[in-house]
Amino acid sequence: MAVFFVCLDTINSQISVVSFELLALARQLADQAGGSVEALAVGSVSEEDLSGLGVVDKLHHAAADTDGYIPEVYRHAVGKVLQSVDSVAIFIPYSTAGMEISSALAHDSGRELVSYCQMVKARDGDFEAISMLHASRIKARTSAPSGTIFAMLPGAADADAGRKAGATDIVPVELGELAAKTRIISHHAPDPDKLNLSKVEKIVCVGRGIGSKDNIADAEELAELLGAEIAGTRPVIDAGWLPKERQVGKSGKRVSPKLYIALGVSGAPEHLEGMSGSDLIIAINNDNSAPIFATAHYGVTADLFEVLSELADALRC
């Protein structure tokens, strides 16, 4: 029976949203092929999430003796499990763990690997994958044989369809003696005393297109007029223009406010992952091919400083 395999991603014992999306995709493909869904979890998984794995026929669970994610341990676990599972497709979230494990697994197993996948479908016994490259400026269609590893971007399927109450057959994975050369020194969770962008209703987010730290004052003025919080994309945070707690995206906050105004934000997948659930997205960018326009509800191709100035005047009226 064809096995569609999902490598689950966990943080603090919680299975990630993208992992549930991949379970939904795997279930859909398995049902079409008359196959089954198997998954791997490494480390502890909450009881709530374990009870939501009803779409999984078999869960391989490596209850690793580590308090968190260690790349070598995950590499060892997935390599060991896949030696005995004849998978036709392996899905991995394009997360911190998934990025590095996918290529290590491809090296170790000799399997094909296709990354940045937005969509995968079965085609004549093989697979067709659509990937988004160069921050979604290029779309690539690839033909991938049975057994391929797919590193998947968020949004490939509905996570709710992958989260279904029900029992799954849990098989423990014995890791044996593994002399890992990596250890975790400390964990850091977001500071609860600092601003939590996930809970605010309006956000004005600046991207690299804002140009400089000084220019952020114009965006802050708009935020103040709207009663919104200012936020930034990864490059803006890395440049030290805004503090880390104001980062939206994959390694920042996942937000879904009533209003999200994106100023000079190109719309890399890592950023879209954090804000695409916003109720109303207005994007202003001078590049009409910016991928943010695929997600925004309203778009403006213009000099953002000119629009900012006029918008501030209009809101004061």
Binding site: I11, N12, S16, E72, R75, T96, M99, E100, S102, S103, A104, A106, H107, E112, L113, V114, S115, Y116, E128, A129, L133, S136, I138, K139, A140, R141, A144, P145, T148, K181, T182, R183, I184, I185, S186, H188, K202, L225, L226, G227, D238, A239, E245, S251, K258, L259, L280, I292, F293, A294, A296, Y298, G299, V300, D303, E306, E310, L311, A314, L315
Partner: protein, 255 residues
């Protein structure tokens, strides 16, 4: 201590995008190239580590057009040495193809630590960090946003979704995929760049063969990004008025 930083040139798509005749790849003849942004961060982190620990930083890049210019920039930034890595007639330059070459060169150079960017925008067949770590069978970690040397090991801050992170300690030798440097990128003066203009670089041949590329690309294209987006047009005042009306109609102006 010796730090090798693996650098890759990638197409600069800020201008028009052209594809080859088959439609399966970019037409690279007329396209500009630039240093992969995350490799740039890796270079910065390597130099920071080098400065803090009196380590030698070696910039290593495939011997292709633009390699000399890239290595001169790396020297101006603070790298101690630049080396070109011969890739022969290999036309495909994805991470899977390059990983064995970078890995064997790093070993031959006596690297204690290899840094590279956590990802590249053209990594269709997977990112380099995992390939390098597995090829060398060294401990590895990506999405790193800060490093320091401690107890003879490398301590690295690995970032996860939702603002979570962990400090990992990896025994050396090790491979790290850098997501962001510990400090903002340094400014390099024109004078410093001009000082490096005459620098020459040796080209070395890796003791391994290139890796095998992955699945077949059938088509590359520019996706449409404006499917359901309502584009507002007009001058600055017109679009600002339209946005203000949308916000007021939805009760989203300040209360």
């Amino acid at each position: 201590m010796k730090i090798v930083v693996a650098l890759r040139l990638v197409p600069d798509l800020s201008e028009d995008i052209e594809f080859n005749e088959e439609g399966t790849g970019l037409d690279t003849e007329w396209i500009d190239i630039k240093l992969n942004e995350f490799d740039d961060y890796a270079l910065e982190e390597a130099i920071l580590l080098g400065e803090a620990n009196e380590a030698e930083v070696i910039a290593l890049t495939p011997d292709v057009d633009g390699a000399d210019r890239l290595l001169r920039t790396a020297l101006a930034r603070g790298a101690h040495k630049g080396i070109k890595l011969s890739v022969g007639p290999e036309s495909k330059m994805d991470a899977r193809v390059l990983a064995p070459l970078f890995a064997s060169a790093a070993k031959d150079l006596g690297a204690d630590l290899v840094l590279t960017g956590v990802q590249s925008p053209d990594d269709l067949f997977g990112p380099l960090t995992g390939y390098l770590g597995a090829s060398l069978d060294w401990p590895f970690a990506g999405a790193i946003a800060g490093t320091r040397i401690g107890n003879g090991a490398i301590v690295a801050l690995q970032e996860y979704n939702g603002g979570h992170s962990a400090e990992l300690e990896l025994q050396l030798p090790a491979v790290l995929g850098i997501q962001a440097p510990s400090k903002p990128m340094r400014y390099v003066s024109g004078t410093k760049m001009r000082e490096m203009m005459s620098a020459q670089f040796v080209s070395i041949t890796a003791s391994s063969q290139p890796g095998k590329t992955s699945a077949d690309i059938e088509e590359m294209s520019v996706p449409s990004h404006q499917g359901q987006t309502k584009m507002l047009s007009g001058d600055g005042e017109a679009v600002a008025t339209a946005i203000a009306k949308i916000l007021k109609d939805r009760g989203l102006t300040a209360s």
